[in-house]
Amino acid sequence: MDLIEVTKVSLEALKANKTRSGLTMLGIVIGVTSVILLTSIGSGLKTYITKQLEGLGSNAVWVFPGELNMNAGGGGEGVPGAGVAASKFTFDHIKQLEGESRTIKAVMAYTENNGMMRYKGKSLITQIAGVGPDYQEIRDQKVVDGSFFTRSQYNSAKKVAVLGKTAAEDLFGQEDPIGKKFTISDQRYIILGILEEKGAMGSIDMDKQVIIPATTAMHQFDMEYIQSLWVQSQDSESVPQTKEEIETILLKTLDDEEFSVLDTKSVLGVVSSILGVLTAALSGIAAISLVVGGIGIMNIMLVSVTERTREIGLRKAIGATPKNILTQFIVEAIVLSFVGGFIGILLGVGGALLVGRFFTTTITPWSIGLAFFVSSLVGVIFGAAPAYKASKLNPIDALRYE
């Protein structure tokens, strides 16, 4: 009796109870589907964020207020507390960094506030970023129309603004905004230029932003300190040195816990570790349904063994060995979970592709392999007990069973 034969016999037995077999499989189907779907969404999210961060440039370094303790691959400890601590950064710090460091190419003040813009009765609440004159280079976003503010306009805190594409369209419609005046919280600003389209960066839509000189933003929003510093290192190799230099320079005037220096790598590390834990937790919950599905299989197999006691007795009487019977019922359980797993994979991949139309998903081959392996394993494990019970039946008693 070879494996193909046993599989055929099992399929026949399962076909005889189509509804029951289908419902039993459903547990495995749901388990496998959710494992694949959740891991796809998890890794999709990771890919998406990684791409976004990489868009910031490999030689970018940020200085944030407070102690963030963001170490690459720092496991679960490095939960960031961004924005909680009050900033202590001043324009003197920028001067010191520019003057004393050897690897820094540029330092830029960065602030973020929400403000109300008005133009000819139209109003729009949007994010207003205060940046330095090196913004175009540091952020790699160029002005496509008009011009950016100059260093002297920056130094004298002129009320000038550069608009993101969407912000310009929202406020000015078909009008050419360059040279026009509008107000931010009743302060009049002149529009110098329009930035190229950049798309969303995480939750922030870059194209909806309004950019003004950070010096102006300090007055506009009545801030004493700069929210964060954006530093550009000479090249990606000197990023570690830049980080060290920043720390040394800032420690002269600030305490260790008053600032944190981050680069793309360390942010990536934290993000991937958080997402990794999240994905694992969600998949773990999904995997529980696989176990529940397995118990369903065991239950049905036990019923099946009892129902087919006479058949087992007959098979033994005509020459089936206990091993033959054991194999038959285990294969039956495996076929149930295997087919369930297969359908689950189809649904999971299909679902991931569907979700992928609205949101980034990455279907990972390992999750499919794992789902396949686990569902078959579930069949073996949960089929073993009923199959063993069947193989141990005494043929005489089994034949007498009513």
Binding site: E5, R315, K316, I318, G319, A320, T321, P322, I396
Partner: protein
């Protein structure tokens, strides 16, 4: 003719420690090749136990069961299964066909546990069904067959491995008289062709078909 099957001082005891019950006590029996034997006895007489011993479904508590001179009393479950597969063909009172497969597949069922190739199995099953006059019923399911026909499928199933012994346990018990006669006619014909047939029954009408009758009362052969 040589002794095909021999029971020497065979006993089967249940609950040997507390209150021993002898289902079969000191049975001595010899069945020769080509014989047609009826084992008769009222219910509870131990004839079923005797049949299980003869059919290698059970092993004795004491004594020896010799099949073709080989002692099978101490064999393992696996070894007994192999002997049943090759040498014994069972026919039961309740037919015991598998309802979800056709008459042909039911007939071929014992071949699953042998090395015979798939194509040969089909040929054999068709040939054997023909022997019990069910040539055209191969693709029918058990519930599409009459009781007599189902029992004939069961006989075909018993015959397919060309066993040494056909062992039938009350084969007409669930059938009307006419179907019962047909079944007995088949057994008679098989015996004429040289098959050894053992029938367990409590009906003397049925026992009459056999050439030899063994009576068992309270576990003892009389």
């Amino acid at each position: 003719m040589s002794a095909l099957l021999k029971l020497v001082n065979v006993s089967k005891v249940y609950r040997p420690d507390s209150h021993p019950i002898y289902a079969v006590k000191n049975a001595n029996l010899e069945i020769k090749e080509g014989e047609f034997v009826a084992i008769m006895g009222p219910s509870g007489s131990g004839k079923s136990t005797l049949m299980h011993l003869v059919g290698c479904l059970d092993t004795p508590s004491s004594g020896k069961v010799l099949l073709e001179g080989k002692n099978i009393s101490k064999l393992s479950e696996e070894e007994l299964a192999k002997i049943r597969s090759q040498k014994i063909g069972f026919v039961f009172q309740t037919f015991n066909l598998i309802p979800r497969t056709t008459a042909l597949d039911n007939t071929a069922l014992p071949l699953i546990y042998t090395d015979i190739s798939l194509r040969k199995r089909k040929q054999l099953a068709e040939k054997t069904l023909k022997e019990v006059n069910l040539k055209d019923r191969g693709d029918h399911y058990p519930n599409q067959l009459s009781g007599g026909e189902q029992q004939r499928v069961a006989i075909a199933r018993a015959l397919i491995n060309d066993p040494l012994i056909i062992l039938a346990d009350e084969p007409t018990g669930n059938l009307d008289t006419k179907s019962g006669q047909e079944i007995m006619a088949i057994f008679t014909r098989l015996n004429k062709q040289g098959k050894t047939v053992i029938i367990v029954t409590h009906e003397s009408e049925i026992a009459k078909y056999a050439k030899k009758t063994i009576k068992i009362v309270d576990g003892e052969i009389v």
